[in-house]
Symmetry: C2
Subunit: 275 residues, 2 copies
Amino acid sequence: MLKVVRKDGGGEVQSMSDSMTNGDAPPESPVDAAPEQTAPKAKRGTGRRLHGAIAHKLGAAIVSGEYRPGDTLSGEVAFSEALDVSRSAYREAVQVLSAKGLVESRPKTGTRVLPRNRWNLLDPDVLAWAFSGEPDIHFVRSLFELRAIVEPAAARLAAERRDKADLKEMRDALAAMRRHTLATEAGRTADREFHNAVLAATRNDALVVLTASIGAAVAWTTQFKQRSRALPRNPVPDHVKVYDAIAAGDVEAAGEAMRLLVDLALEDTRSAMEG
Amino acid sequence: MLKVVRKDGGGEVQSMSDSMTNGDAPPESPVDAAPEQTAPKAKRGTGRRLHGAIAHKLGAAIVSGEYRPGDTLSGEVAFSEALDVSRSAYREAVQVLSAKGLVESRPKTGTRVLPRNRWNLLDPDVLAWAFSGEPDIHFVRSLFELRAIVEPAAARLAAERRDKADLKEMRDALAAMRRHTLATEAGRTADREFHNAVLAATRNDALVVLTASIGAAVAWTTQFKQRSRALPRNPVPDHVKVYDAIAAGDVEAAGEAMRLLVDLALEDTRSAMEG
DNA sequence: TCCTTTGTATTACTCCGACATATTCATTTG
DNA sequence: CAAATGAATATGTCGGAGTAATACAAAGGA
């Protein structure tokens, strides 16, 4: 009856402060050479709750294709023991995955991975999991295509409906973008804030939520893009064009300027990924 | 000290991830023969697992505004006792809500409702909850606006990329729409299948997922629309126009025909809700 | 022979009670 | 008066016991 005193004091203490983007990309070797006992602990740092960490782990494994649709996970007891956590924690993690449409559990049959078209691919967490590994290039193209559809239309609506407060938010974000560059986290945040301000000006909740998701995903790729090469283009002037058109209430120009912006971003990302 | 008799719900089974067509529109009251005293609690009406029922209940209460953003729910023990369920079941329900961005729990502070812009409004379940009460007319307008943006663009892509199999699916759906009317469930299903076929032809996963969500929501309103008045218009010819354009590979015509279709649907729904 | 019905084994589902951990808030100390 | 310290409290995690639902196989009837 192994008692598993999950008292971290034992051996090596794992990273405490990963918390953010890391993910557990480095996949442990499938061969567990278990020195003493079950090797693949790989638990959580502080911050994420345990079931959150498990959900992240499983979710990433599913979206990355490690488990295929139709596969059935080993039973609750077996899996929770393998992960060295209690059944409660494992179950709560599965509830999360189930809520996002990744899996479905039923008595007698167990928990099985649902087909891809049932997944909530636009859920922020699912997107994060999808981008924690190496992102599927085809899927990234889909996202940019969607963005290219939605954002120009949003800019048109914003040009019709914006008020002074909206414009001020955009100006502030632009100023922040000028100060920091896109290479810094602050700069990327300012970029997101600008787009969020545009979205908020549409007075359309569905649009806001949708593009919040897409924006998060785009942020991953932006970071990805940065990693590969310092991007040459200065994005601020293009953003200013969008702002000017929205401020002037010029619907057509706003849509067109935003379309250009998205196209350039796509171009940068594509060259960064393929080249 | 009444002790959990939670005896009801003998009836139909089949839980699945609801989220789809079923809805809870025709809720209960088959025979059911309430055993003596189910009166006050009457938690799980039907089928769903217990935590799913709780999530539905809480989720609907939150999106309907019964709990406001910033409010903190009573503690786990208190709430689970009030609902007459175990703490585990309640916790799993909260995990679901947390996964959909409706609430956030932290030690000591409790579980509090997140601001609206954190909600995954495009999650199928959240949409179902939003439409389980009387839908917010402003939000419905947002959805139709989004649909009016996305679907014509999707039709344009479909006109470029469709293959024979896609066209056959559309034809089959159209035939089914002709046989049954929109007044029947089979007819509405055929309608959804047509739109799904168009979406699938875009070869864009993000678009498929998004419009699956929107389509489900639109299905609610369609049903709603039916309830209020038999709609006069025959929708088939408009759908045929879309099909013809896609089959011909005419990008512009496809987008325009779909735009018309969405506008008409919006018009019908608006008159049904306001009139 | 085929279909229906029944039985059974397996699995998730629910419950319970205890302990661990994290975070807030009041208190104490420099 | 401010920073460190301690206690209080609610969520987080645990393990085990018992219930309910369902796939699958076997037995029975047409």
